[in-house]
């Protein structure tokens, strides 16, 4: 493609959809999205399940493969792009949201995904993450949270619980961990969700919604690192009877338990509490509404579990509409061209006070 054609294609016209949606000539299958590279995560790593979920749900989006880009930073999860038969970049530690911002803002026709981990996104790349979220760049950010540095062989991470014992903290870690969902909501994110590596159905549904969201979609995925932090999420991940998973369903009361016998109510001070439904009655339960503009509801839900050792909300916390950075940028280019006409280099070079010298 020549520069001109490229320019014409993406320049000042917004694509039909901000998500790079389009129709692939031949429908893709999960196999079409597998690259020829051997997958090299540790056997049993939760990353495999996420990769499989992504590869199997993506074809249904109907986006041609060449319009999909995966960008990652550094860490175990950051190998992800190598395994996808799409465009991809394995970049540097923490910078993927910044790099993806430049790509997405200059190429609104693409579907750009960021794959990151708790160290990558919340430690070294924390600044880029929060600014991507507040700008609402058209990015889908998948944060594989395993509460540990896996690639460097097991140091505590910014999501490890206080007192974590490992290689760099033989007497226990001293830092209070981030709650990624609270952080994202605090950073003005428009789409915030949490899912679990092994729950293919739930994860797929969340990814589908993330993909359809206009702007930055932030998805925290509880991902088991079976080598350095096995079982960190077992309270929720292995919770077959819904004792600890609090499913968030739009327009539904927030309740959980094998028979839905537990629920969440809002106290007068705005904080939430877990109660027995029998004690308060169904009508007293908090109704979930992900579309509330005010982030207080989503934030309060995120505070129900600071670390996932007890009842923990899973699902979409927040999904609101806000102008998308890339689209605003493209609109400005179009408006400037309408106002001033397409750029004329000769006129620009001769602008201002000029004078002529004759021979």
């Amino acid at each position: 493609m020549s520069g001109d054609e490229l320019d014409a294609e993406r320049g000042t016209t917004r694509p039909a959809s901000g998500n790079g949606n389009g129709t692939a000539a031949v429908p893709l299958t999960a196999k079409d999205l597998k690259s020829d590279q051997e997958v090299r995560w540790c056997p049993g790593c939760g990353d495999y399940a996420v990769l499989a979920a992504v590869q199997s749900f993506m074809p249904e989006l109907g986006i041609p493969r060449e319009r999909i880009v995966f960008i990652s930073g550094i860490g175990c999860a950051a190998r992800f792009p190598y395994y996808m038969q799409t465009y991809g970049m394995h970049s540097i530690h923490g910078r993927a949201p910044a790099i993806a911002t430049g790509l997405s803002a200059s190429r609104p026709d693409l579907s750009v995904w960021v794959v990151t981990g708790d160290g990558d996104a919340l430690s070294i790349g924390g600044n880029h993450l929060i600014h991507a979220l507040r700008r609402n760049v058209n990015l889908k950010i998948l944060l594989f949270n395993n509460q540990i540095y896996g690639l460097t062989k097991g140091q505590y991470s910014p999501t490890s619980p206080l007192g974590t014992l490992n290689r760099t903290t033989p007497m226990g870690s001293l830092d209070w961990p981030f709650n990624p969902i609270s952080l994202a909501i605090g950073a003005e994110a428009t789409f915030v969700a949490r899912s679990i590596d092994t729950d293919r159905k739930h994860l797929t549904e969340v990814l589908r919604r993330a993909s359809a969201h206009r702007g930055t979609a932030f998805v925290e995925i509880y991902q088991n690192c079976n080598v350095y932090n096995d079982g960190a999420f077992d309270a929720v991940r292995e919770d077959k009877v819904n004792e600890n998973r609090i499913p968030l369903a739009q327009g539904q009361p927030v309740r959980f338990g094998a028979q839905g016998e537990k629920g969440v109510v809002q106290r007068p001070d705005g904080t939430l509490a877990i109660v027995d439904v029998a004690d308060v009655g169904e009508d007293a339960l908090l109704m979930h509404d992900e579309t509330l503009d005010d982030p207080a509801h989503a934030f309060a839900l995120s505070r129900l579990a600071h670390t996932p050792t007890g009842p923990t909300p899973i699902g979409i916390f927040r999904a609101v509409e806000r102008p998308v950075y890339d689209e605003l940028m493209t609109d400005q280019l179009r408006a400037a061209t309408e106002q001033k006409g397409a750029g004329d280099l000769d006129a620009l070079l001769h602008a201002g006070d000029t004078w002529s010298v004759h021979s």
């Binding site: 465009y87 190429r107 280019l333 006070d353």
Partner: protein, 610 residues
């Protein structure tokens, strides 16, 4: 009214100095525009404090603007002023040392109050104690004359006082026969929304002119004839303006939209500001959350097929090096502009230096070669920008483009180029599979060693690139020892093989001494060489615009001379390189005062070696 006698001069250096709030930069800029229209050659240098609002009347709050104009071709804003306009005691105190004895001094008499004298640290009033006897002193009650001139205009006293810079401009315009129409038009345009303020400024300006005509204090006026410049259309331009235009031109001539990622930093912010006004050229400007994100976003845009650019200064560049390393590994085009300023650390943000050379060449982990282009003059920033983009695109590599605070803010007449004469720097993206039915992202052009560049959106060429070492050709991750050695050498060879123009030597008389410079010292070195030659000395001058790779003939040039002098505003960075690279026993002349070289000090250094 009797016309005053006119004295002809071949060149003049004027410095306007006042408090930051006195509008000296505006005064200087207007005087410059008037001078450009006369057809003089000119060169300007603003000198302003880093503090936006240093306390009024204080020494750190002094802001200056120097203009050198002439009836012949000149290279610098002048070593020392012939005329100093001092709007207050602090401006006098900080600038008087630069005015040679016998120079002309014009002061705002009204500003020499006890309070202002005290703020400037004067024990006695210099206007009264005879300490200025060695100068041609003109004491002008600028403030009160301005107030008088605008008394019928409906403005506050403060607003009226603020027009005193226009009075000074009017007086200087009269003194040097500058045309006034442009300034009057400018005033009307600038204050179009507040008629009263426009009126006040216009009246002050005209009153300044009239004061010159009528006051007996000024007995003669001066005329500087137009210079004979190369025929063509000219405009006055600063280095930052020229650099921004060069990037726009590179976008047009490559057919690729510019994506500029930047974080505000002195003295590079004007580049972001300028380019953000050219959105109708398809230019996207992204003000990032930090320096790292700025270059990251630019690289992401390059990956998508844009011309990725980032603009910064030393303290920002140092944060970008990680991403420069990634760009080297990815082999993607990226232009990184470093408008150098005095360091280390925050240093002196508004002051020039050229001490980032070794950083941009070597300040990264491992073997990470990057081409380096350096601008030599304010107008030359345009060509340097186009050249940096050309190399980046042709060789798929990050390129450093060095400017400095002196070039960035200094101005000179610029011969506006014809668009057709600018080089075509377009490139082809890969659109087809290139190896047995596959796409190999690291398959190369055998001559340039540039890899095939396929951008997202191109069907069938999906591929992954990254910072891990990769196998040449396939681009697959590789830890093979021989492959790594091969790749390290290949990346070095690619940069070493870049086509750069030969080093030109200005050597009219076959000298034995060569002065070798680079970057923003071009003007002062050139002016020093002229000075030496005028005094009968014999010296050659060569100026490097490409610091990596060096021009092919650099070794030959250096070996032709018995002695080589390398003046730099650092402690000898190019000097180290030429000594190491070419085994030449070159000698340095190094000053790091945050000020451009003076041509007389360089002339002395040259003469000391003849």
């Amino acid at each position: 009214m009797a016309t005053k006698p006119v004295e002809q001069l071949d060149r003049v250096v004027i410095r306007f100095a006042g408090d930051s709030g006195d509008g000296m930069q505006l005064t200087g800029a207007r005087f410059t525009s008037e001078t450009a229209l006369v057809g003089n050659d000119l060169s300007t240098l603003p000198d302003f404090p880093a503090e936006i609002r240093a306390p009024a009347g204080s020494l750190p709050g002094v802001s200056g603007f120097q203009i050198h104009f002439s009836d012949h071709d000149i290279l610098t804003p002048g070593d020392a002023p012939n005329v100093l306009v001092a709007m207050n005691p602090a401006a006098l105190k900080t600038n008087l040392r630069d005015l040679p004895k016998g120079g002309t001094l014009i002061v705002n008499h009204d500003a020499f109050t006890d309070r202002n004298l005290e703020k400037a640290g004067y024990d006695a009033n210099p206007l009264e104690d005879g300490s200025l006897d060695a100068y041609h002193l003109h004491e002008v009650p600028l403030t009160s004359l301005t107030l008088e001139a605008v008394k019928d205009v409906d403005v506050t006293k403060r607003e009226a006082e603020r027009s005193k810079n226009m009075f000074a401009l009017g007086l200087m315009s009269w003194l040097y026969h500058r045309p006034t129409e442009g300034t009057i038009e400018y005033i009307r345009r600038k204050f179009a929304k507040t008629q009263a303020i426009a009126d006040a400024n216009e009246r002050a300006f005209k009153a300044g002119w009239a004061y010159g005509e009528t006051s007996e204090d000024f007995a003669v006026t001066y005329e500087v004839k137009p210079a004979t410049l190369r025929p063509g259309t000219y405009r006055n331009i600063t280095g930052n303006q020229a650099l921004a235009l060069g990037l726009v031109a590179a976008s047009v001539k490559s057919g690729l939209p510019v994506f500029l990622g930047a974080y505000p930093i002195t003295p590079a912010s004007a580049l972001l500001e300028d380019l953000s006004r050219h959105k109708n050229f398809g230019i996207r400007t992204f003000q990032a959350e930090d320096e790292i994100a700025a270059i990251g976003a630019a690289l992401g845009a390059s990956f998508g097929g844009a011309l990725g650019v980032c603009t910064s200064s030393g303290p920002g560049i140092v944060l970008k090096m990680e991403t420069v390393g990634l760009a080297i590994a990815l082999e993607l085009p990226l232009v990184i502009v470093d408008v150098q300023r005095a360091g280390p650390s925050t240093g002196m943000p508004t002051k020039p230096e050229q001490a980032d050379l070794l950083m941009v060449l070597f300040g990264r982990n491992s073997e990470s070669p990057v081409p380096v282009v350096a601008a030599s003059t304010p107008g030359g920033c345009f060509d340097a920008a186009v050249e940096a983009c050309r190399i980046a695109l042709k060789y798929r590599t990050p390129v450093f483009l060095l400017s400095d605070a002196y070039l960035a803010n200094g101005s000179e007449p610029w011969l506006v180029p014809e668009v057709e004469t600018l080089p075509d720097i377009s490139i082809e993206f890969a659109t087809e599979k290139n190896h047995d039915g596959e796409f190999w992202p690291y398959l190369r052009d055998p001559h340039t060693l540039a890899r095939d560049w396929a951008i997202p959106g191109t069907p069938g060429l999906e591929h992954r690139i990254g910072g891990l070492e990769k196998h040449d050709g396939t681009g697959n991750v590789s830890y093979d020892p021989d492959n790594h050695d091969f790749m390290v050498r290949l990346r070095a060879q690619k940069v070493a093989g870049i086509d750069v123009p030969d080093l030109e030597v200005d050597d009219p008389d076959g000298a034995g001494l060569l002065v070798l410079g680079w970057g923003g010292t071009y003007g002062p070195i050139g002016a020093a060489a002229r000075r030496v030659r005028e005094a009968g000395g014999n010296v050659a001058h060569a100026h490097l615009t490409h610091l990596n790779p060096f021009p092919r003939n650099t070794r030959d040039v250096l070996q032709r001379y018995e002695r080589v002098l390398v003046p730099e505003m650092n402690l000898g960075q190019l000097l180290k390189l030429v000594r190491a690279e070419f085994l030449v026993d070159a000698v340095g002349y190094n000053r790091v005062r945050g000020l451009p070289f003076r041509s007389d000090e360089l002339a002395d250094a040259i003469e000391g070696m003849l």
